[in-house]
C-alpha cells in the first residue's frame, strides 16, 4: 500500500519535473545538438548561452528591470492593501460589500483591454519606458488580490485583540505595525507571493509600456525567434534563469504559504 502510494507520487513528481529538466538540459546544449535529435543529456556540454546572458547587458538588464518592477509593485501593493483590508474587515460602511466585489472585478478584465489607455496615460506622465510604469500598472491586478487575501487573514484574528492592544496603550499605528502585522505575516507572505507571480510572468503590459530602458526579460526572450530560426539554447538558458527568482521566493515564504493557504481564502 505504502509502496503503491510512493510509486504514484514518484510518477507524479517525474511528470511535473520533466519539462523543467528538459529546459535545463537544453540550456546546456548547442543549437546543433538540440535540433539534430533526441539526447537525454547534453553530449556537447556548453556554457556559451549563459555566458552570453551574463556578459551582454542587453540580456542581463532584462532580469534587473523585471526584478525592479516586481519588487516595487509588491511593496506598493502590500502597503496600500493592508489598510484597505483592515477597513474591509473591521468596519461596516455604506457599500462596503459592493466595493469589495468591485475590487475583484478588476481582475476579471483581461490586461489587454488596458493596453492602449495605459500606454497613453504613462506616456503623458513621462513614465513610459520606466520600471515605475509597469509596477504601477500591475497594481491594478495585484491590489485586489492582496486586499482579498489580507482581509481573510485579518478577519481570522479576533476583534478583541484590537481592543486589548488599545488597553495596553498602543497607538493605532503602533498596534498596526507591532501587533497586527506579525499576527498576519502568513497572509502577507501569501499575498506577496501572488504579487510576485503575477508581475514576474505578465508580458503584455510590461512589453507595451517599455521600449529600451526598462524592457522585461520576457520581452527580450522574444528575440530568440527570428527569420533565421529559433535560438533554442538561448531561449532555454534565459528560461531557466527566470525560474530562479521564483524558487528563491518560494523557499523563503514556504512556511507562510502553507499556513496562509490554510486560512482558506486562497
Amino acid at each position: 500500500m505504502r509502496i503503491g502510494r510512493q510509486l504514484i507520487l514518484g510518477i507524479y513528481f517525474l511528470f511535473i519535473m520533466l519539462p523543467i529538466y528538459w529546459l535545463v538540459n537544453m540550456s546546456f546544449k548547442t543549437n546543433e545538438e538540440i535540433v539534430s535529435g533526441l539526447t537525454l543529456w547534453p553530449t556537447s556540454w556548453t556554457w556559451e548561452h549563459y555566458e552570453r546572458i551574463f556578459t551582454d547587458p542587453s540580456w542581463y538588464m532584462g532580469y534587473i528591470n523585471s526584478l525592479q518592477y516586481v519588487t516595487i509593485n509588491t511593496l506598493i501593493s502590500l502597503t496600500l492593501a493592508l489598510p484597505a483590508a483592515y477597513a474591509f474587515s473591521r468596519y461596516r460602511f455604506m457599500g462596503d460589500k459592493h466595493l469589495f466585489f468591485w475590487l475583484l472585478t478588476n481582475r476579471m478584465a483581461p490586461p489587454a483591454v488596458f493596453l492602449l489607455p495605459f500606454f497613453q496615460l504613462y506616456s503623458e506622465l513621462k513614465l513610459f519606458d520606466t520600471v515605475w510604469a509597469v509596477a504601477i500598472a500591475h497594481t491594478l491586478f495585484n491590489i485586489p488580490i492582496c486586499v482579498w487575501i489580507l482581509e481573510g487573514a485579518i478577519s481570522s484574528i479576533p476583534k478583541e485583540l484590537d481592543e486589548m492592544a488599545s488597553l495596553d496603550g498602543y497607538s493605532f499605528p503602533g498596534f498596526f505595525t507591532k501587533v497586527l502585522i506579525p499576527q498576519i505575516r502568513s497572509g502577507i507572505g501569501v499575498a506577496a507571493f501572488f504579487c510576485f507571480m503575477f508581475s514576474w510572468v505578465e508580458l503584455l503590459l510590461a512589453r507595451t509600456l517599455t521600449s529600451v530602458n526598462a524592457k522585461p526579460i520576457a520581452a527580450i526572450m522574444t528575440r530568440t525567434k527570428g527569420a533565421a530560426g529559433t535560438d533554442w539554447g538561448m531561449l532555454a538558458s534565459a528560461g531557466t534563469l527566470t525560474i530562479i527568482p521564483g524558487l528563491i521566493i518560494i523557499w523563503f515564504v514556504r512556511h507562510h504559504i502553507a499556513k496562509g493557504f490554510a486560512l482558506g481564502r486562497v
Binding site: 542587453s58 492602449l116 522574444t222 527570428g226 527569420a227 533565421a228
Partner: protein, 574 residues
C-alpha cells in the same frame, strides 16, 4: 553682375568648406574603425575616409543624443546592433541603442506608435511588405520628400540610391521611396547537389519518370522528385530520406508561407514585376491603384482555380512526402531541418538559413567547409506565365514615422544611412549574407567567396533575381489582411474544410476588410468595392487573372542540370 556675385559666393563657400575640412580631420577613432573593421569595401580607403568625414561633420548638431532604433533578430541586425552602433558612436558622438526584438513585436510597436502618435522608437527596420500600408496611411514619411526637404542637410551625398537592388520594393504607387532597404533575403529552391549527381539515383530516376534528375523547372517535376526520394529511394547510407520538407502548424508563420509568394509560384495573379498588375499574388485586384476585391466574383483571384491548386498541392505534398513531424512545425522549427541531412529538396527555403546551413560538422557540409547542397530558382506551377513573379524576397527597410520629433529622426536617419553606406555595406554583407547593393554583389571579394555560399551569389547576380519580390502595393493593410490567411489555411490542413471552401472563406473575409478600409478612408488609393460584383463567369472570360481551371494541372515534368543553369546566368550577367 549676377555671375560675378555668384562667383564670389561660390568662392566663399569653397573656402569655408576648405577651412572646415582643414579644421576637422577624420577622428583617430574613425580611422581605427576603417583599419580594424571596414577594410573590405567597394570604396577606396580615401573615399571611405571622405564618407566618414561627412558623417562626422553632419552629425555635429546631434552629438550627445541617444537614439533608439529597432529591428528583428537576424545576424545582419545583430551585427548592426553590436558593431555598427558602436562605430557610429565613435565617429559621430550620437549614441545608438539598436534594439533587437521578435518581428511580431516590431510590428506591434509600430502599430502602437501609429495609433497613439507617441514616439516609441526613432526609426524602425520594417519589412517592405508593408509598402502598400505605409503609402496609404498618413503615418510614414516618404523618404523621397524627406531627402529633398527637411533632411537635406543630413542626407549622405554618396548614398547612391540606384545601387540598391530592392529600391522598387520600397517605392509606393505615387513613385516615392518610402523605406530604405537594410537587408534582403529570398526564398529559393534548395536541394542536395551531391545526391542529385549520384549516377545510380540519376539512372533510377530516368527509368521511372522518363527524364533526367535535376533542378525542377515545374511543379510536376518537383512532385516526381519528391515521390522518388520518399517512396523509391527511401534510404541513403542507412538513413531514411524524404523528398520534401515544409511546415504546417496552425501558427501565424503559416500565413507567410502563402502570402510571401506561394500563389504566384502556382500562377495566381497577373504578369508584372515586382508584383502582378492588376491582380497580385495575394489575389487582390486593383483598378488604377485602388483595390476592388479579392474574390473571383470581384475580379480577384484568392479563390481562383490557381490558388486552390496551390493550396491543394501544398497539403498533399506535406502529407505525402515530408517527414511526419513537419505537419506540427512552425516556420522557425522547420527551417534547420534540411541541414540535418535527411531531406533531398525543399521548394520554399529561405536564404536567411544560409549561414546556419554552412556550419562545419553538419551532415550537409563537406569536410573542407563547402556545402553539399545548392540553392536554385524555385519551380513554377502550371498556371504560371513568363513575366510573373516567381518567389519572395524579404527586404527589411528603414522606416521613418511622422510622430517622431524632427531632431530625433534626423539623427536616426544618419545612423540608418551609415548602416547601408558603401563604407560598411560589404563588411555587413559578409557577416549576415543579406545583400542590398549591386556594387557589393559585383565586388571581387564576393566573387572569391561565392563557391562557399551554395549558389547565393550566383542567384543574386543572375537576371532571375528580379522575379523574387516582396508583397506589393495592392495590399492596403498588411497586418489586418495577413492574419486571415493562416487561420483559413489551417482549416484546410486539418480537413475541416476543402481547399476550395477555405479559399472562398478567406476571400470573403478579405473583401470584408477591404470594405471596412473603404469606409474608414485612406490617404490615397483606398479600396473601392463595386456595389454589384460582376460574378465569376464574367471574370473568367476576361484575359489574364483570375484564370479558369486548366484541364491538365500536371504537365510533363521538366528539369535542368544545375551546372548548366549557373552557366547560363553567368553568360547573361556578363
Amino acid at each position: 553682375m549676377i555671375i560675378s556675385r555668384s562667383l564670389i559666393t561660390g568662392a566663399i563657400a569653397l573656402s569655408c568648406f576648405a577651412m572646415q575640412a582643414k579644421s576637422a580631420p577624420l577622428s583617430p577613432k574613425a580611422k581605427q574603425w576603417l583599419k580594424d573593421e571596414f577594410h573590405q569595401s567597394t570604396l577606396t580607403k580615401q573615399q571611405q575616409e571622405q564618407e566618414l568625414l561627412w558623417f562626422q561633420e553632419a552629425a555635429k548638431p546631434y552629438k550627445g543624443m541617444t537614439i533608439n532604433v529597432v529591428s528583428e533578430t537576424i545576424d545582419t541586425h545583430t551585427y548592426e546592433s553590436k558593431k555598427l552602433a558602436k562605430a557610429f558612436y565613435d565617429i559621430t558622438g550620437i549614441k545608438i541603442v539598436h534594439d533587437l526584438i521578435g518581428e511580431g513585436d516590431v510590428i506591434e510597436k509600430l502599430q502602437t506608435q501609429f495609433q497613439t502618435g507617441r514616439n516609441i522608437y526613432d526609426m524602425y527596420v520594417n519589412d517592405s511588405d508593408l509598402i502598400g500600408t505605409h503609402s496609404r496611411q498618413n503615418y510614414v514619411i516618404p523618404l523621397s520628400d524627406f531627402m529633398k526637404g527637411e533632411g537635406k542637410d543630413v542626407t549622405l551625398p554618396t548614398l547612391d540610391l540606384k545601387d540598391f537592388i530592392g529600391l522598387s520594393f520600397t517605392t509606393g504607387p505615387d513613385g516615392k521611396v518610402y523605406q530604405l532597404p537594410d537587408q534582403q533575403f529570398a526564398n529559393l529552391y534548395w536541394f542536395r547537389y551531391d545526391w542529385f549527381n549520384r549516377k545510380d539515383l540519376k539512372k533510377k530516376f530516368k527509368a521511372k519518370y522518363g527524364y533526367e534528375l535535376g533542378v525542377p523547372v515545374n511543379w510536376s517535376a518537383y512532385e516526381d522528385i519528391a515521390d522518388f526520394f520518399t517512396n523509391e529511394v527511401k534510404e541513403i547510407d542507412g538513413k531514411k530520406v524524404y523528398g520534401h520538407m515544409d511546415y504546417g502548424k496552425k501558427d501565424p508563420s503559416l500565413g507567410w508561407r502563402f502570402t510571401d509568394a506561394w500563389l504566384s509560384m502556382a500562377g495566381t495573379g497577373s504578369k508584372g514585376i515586382p508584383n502582378g498588375l492588376p491582380v497580385d499574388e495575394w489575389g487582390i485586384r486593383v483598378d488604377q491603384c485602388r483595390p476592388v476585391g479579392s474574390t473571383v466574383a470581384r475580379g480577384g483571384a484568392v479563390n481562383a482555380p490557381a490558388s486552390v491548386y496551390a493550396l491543394t498541392k501544398y497539403i498533399d505534398w506535406l502529407k505525402q512526402y515530408a517527414p511526419p513531424e513537419a505537419l506540427g512545425m512552425t516556420f522557425s522549427e522547420a527551417g534547420p531541418v534540411p541541414s540535418q541531412g535527411q531531406v533531398a529538396q525543399q521548394i520554399f527555403w529561405y536564404t536567411a538559413f544560409t549561414r546556419a546551413s554552412l556550419k562545419k560538422g553538419l551532415p550537409v557540409v563537406n569536410k573542407d567547409g563547402s556545402p553539399k547542397w545548392r540553392m536554385a530558382p524555385s519551380p513554377h506551377g502550371p498556371y504560371w506565365e513568363k513575366g510573373m513573379k516567381l518567389g519572395y524576397q524579404d527586404a527589411g527597410s528603414w522606416t521613418m514615422l511622422k510622430s517622431t520629433p524632427s531632431k530625433r529622426r534626423k539623427a536616426a536617419w544618419l545612423y540608418a544611412q551609415f548602416s547601408v553606406s558603401k563604407t560598411v555595406s560589404l563588411t555587413k554583407f559578409l557577416e549576415g549574407l543579406t545583400p542590398i547593393r549591386e556594387s557589393d554583389l559585383k565586388s571581387p571579394v564576393v566573387t572569391k567567396l561565392a563557391p562557399k555560399l551554395g549558389g547565393l551569389v550566383e542567384f543574386y547576380r543572375s537576371p532571375a533575381r528580379t522575379l523574387w519580390t516582396p508583397t506589393g502595393i495592392n495590399v492596403p493593410d498588411y497586418p489586418r489582411l495577413s492574419q486571415l490567411w493562416w487561420q483559413n489555411i489551417s482549416q484546410a490542413i486539418s480537413g475541416e474544410k476543402t481547399p476550395q471552401a477555405a479559399m472562398d472563406g478567406l476571400g470573403k473575409q478579405m473583401d470584408k476588410i477591404l470594405g471596412r478600409l473603404e469606409r474608414m478612408g485612406m490617404k490615397q488609393c483606398a479600396p473601392k468595392l463595386a456595389s454589384k460584383p460582376k460574378g465569376a463567369d464574367y471574370w473568367f472570360k476576361q484575359p489574364g487573372s483570375p484564370k479558369p481551371k486548366l484541364a491538365n494541372e500536371k504537365p510533363k515534368g521538366k528539369t535542368v542540370p544545375y551546372d548548366k543553369l549557373v552557366k547560363s546566368w553567368q553568360e547573361t550577367a556578363h
